[in-house]
Symmetry: C2
Subunit: 182 residues, 2 copies
DNA sequence: CGACTCCTATCTAGTGATAGGTAGATTCAG
DNA sequence: CTGAATCTACCTATCACTAGATAGGAGTCG
C-alpha cells in the first residue's frame, strides 16, 4: 500500500485513541518500519498531517452517511448514528473530530478550523434531512450531534459501547414519534 | 495563596483548555513565576498532578451539584446542567473530565480510572434524583450526561456557548413533560 | 537571649529521553 | 539523467524528572 496512506492510517488510529499531542512522528515511523524523516517528506509539518487526517476523515464520514436523500427522518437519524456506532464497534475508536474538538484550544488553527467545519457539515446534513414542517431545526440537529458525540466519549471512558447503541436507539425512536406527531 | 493550590489552579485551567499532554511543568512554573523543580516537590510525577486535579474537580462538582435532595426531577436536571453551564460561561472552560475522557487511552491508568469514577458518580446522582416511577433510570441518566458533555464540546468547537444553554433548557423541558406524564 | 537542629519549600544545575524538523546522500524506476 | 522516495545523521528545543545546595521558620536546650 501507498506509504502516504499507511501513514494516514496509523496516525488516524493513534490520534483517535490518544489525541493529537500524544502522537509522535517517531512512533508512527517505528510502527510502519520506516524513518521519521520519511514521514516529514509526505507531511512537512505535524499540522499538515493533522489537517490531512481531518480532511480524509470528514470525506469518509460524509460518504458513509451519504447525500441528503428522500428517506424518512428516522432513517436519516439511524444512518447518521450508524456511522459512529460502526466506528466504535468495528474499529473500537472514537470519532477523530470529537477527540480533536476537546483539545481544540491546543491545536494549530488550520486543524481546529477543519474540525469546526466537520461539525457544521454534519449539522447541515441533519437539518436538510429533516421534514419541512420541523421547527428549530438547527438546535435539534445540534442536540443529536451532541448526544452522539458525548455518548461515544462516555462509552469509551466507561468501557461500555452499548451506551452509544442505546442513545442512538432512543434518538431514532424519538424521531419516529416526532414524525408521527406532525 | 498556597503554592500547591496555585499549581492546581493553573494546571486545571491549562488542561481544560488544551488537554493532559499539552500541559508541561515548565509552562506552569513560568506562569506562576517559580521553577519546575518546585512543582515536582508538590507533585512528584505528572500523573500525581493529574489525579489530584481530577479528585479536586470531582469534589468541587459534587459540592456544586449538592446532595440528592427532595427536589423535583426538572430542578435536579437544571441543577446538574447549571454546573456545566457556569463552567463554560464564567470560566470559559470545558469539563476537565470530558476533556480527559477523550484522551483516556493515552492517560496514566490512575488518572483515567478517576475520570471513569467521576462519570459513575454523576450517573448515580442523576439516577437517585429521579422519581421512583421512572424506568430505565441508568440509560436516561447516561443520555443526559452524554448530551451535556457533547454539547459542551460542540459549544467550544463552534465558539457558541448558547449551544449548551439550549441543550440544558430542552433537557429540563423534557424532564417536566416526563414528570407530568406519570 | 542565642546557638543548634530540624523541616519545609524553594532554588540551581543538571540528566537522559524524546519532540519536531532539516540537510544532504543514496536508491531506484522511468 | 531525472525526479520521487527513502535513508543517515544530525539539530535545537523541550519533556519529565532528580540531586544537592540554600534559605528561612519553628522548636528546643543551655
Amino acid at each position: 500500500m501507498d506509504t502516504r496512506t499507511q501513514i494516514l492510517d496509523s496516525a488516524e488510529r493513534a490520534m483517535r485513541l490518544r489525541g493529537y499531542h500524544a502522537v509522535s512522528f517517531r512512533d508512527l515511523a517505528e510502527e510502519l518500519g520506516i524513518k521519521s524523516a520519511s514521514i516529514h517528506y509526505h507531511f512537512r509539518h505535524k499540522e499538515d498531517l493533522g489537517f490531512a487526517l481531518v480532511d480524509r476523515y470528514a470525506a469518509c464520514v460524509s460518504k458513509s452517511v451519504g447525500p441528503v436523500r428522500e428517506v424518512s427522518w428516522p432513517e436519516a437519524v439511524d444512518a447518521f448514528g450508524s456511522v459512529y456506532r460502526n466506528a466504535l464497534h468495528i474499529q473500537e475508536l472514537q470519532c477523530l473530530c470529537g477527540m480533536l474538538a476537546a483539545e481544540s484550544a491546543g491545536l494549530p488553527e488550520k486543524v481546529s478550523k477543519r474540525v469546526t467545519a466537520f461539525f457544521e457539515h454534519n449539522i447541515a446534513w441533519l437539518v436538510e434531512s429533516m421534514p419541512e414542517s420541523f421547527k428549530d431545526k438547527r438546535s435539534k440537529a445540534l442536540r443529536i450531534q451532541a448526544e452522539v458525540q458525548g455518548a461515544m466519549t462516555l462509552a469509551v471512558s466507561l468501557s461500555d459501547p452499548t451506551i452509544l447503541d442505546a442513545s442512538i436507539h432512543q434518538l431514532v425512536q424519538e424521531a419516529k414519534e416526532h414524525s408521527r406527531a406532525i
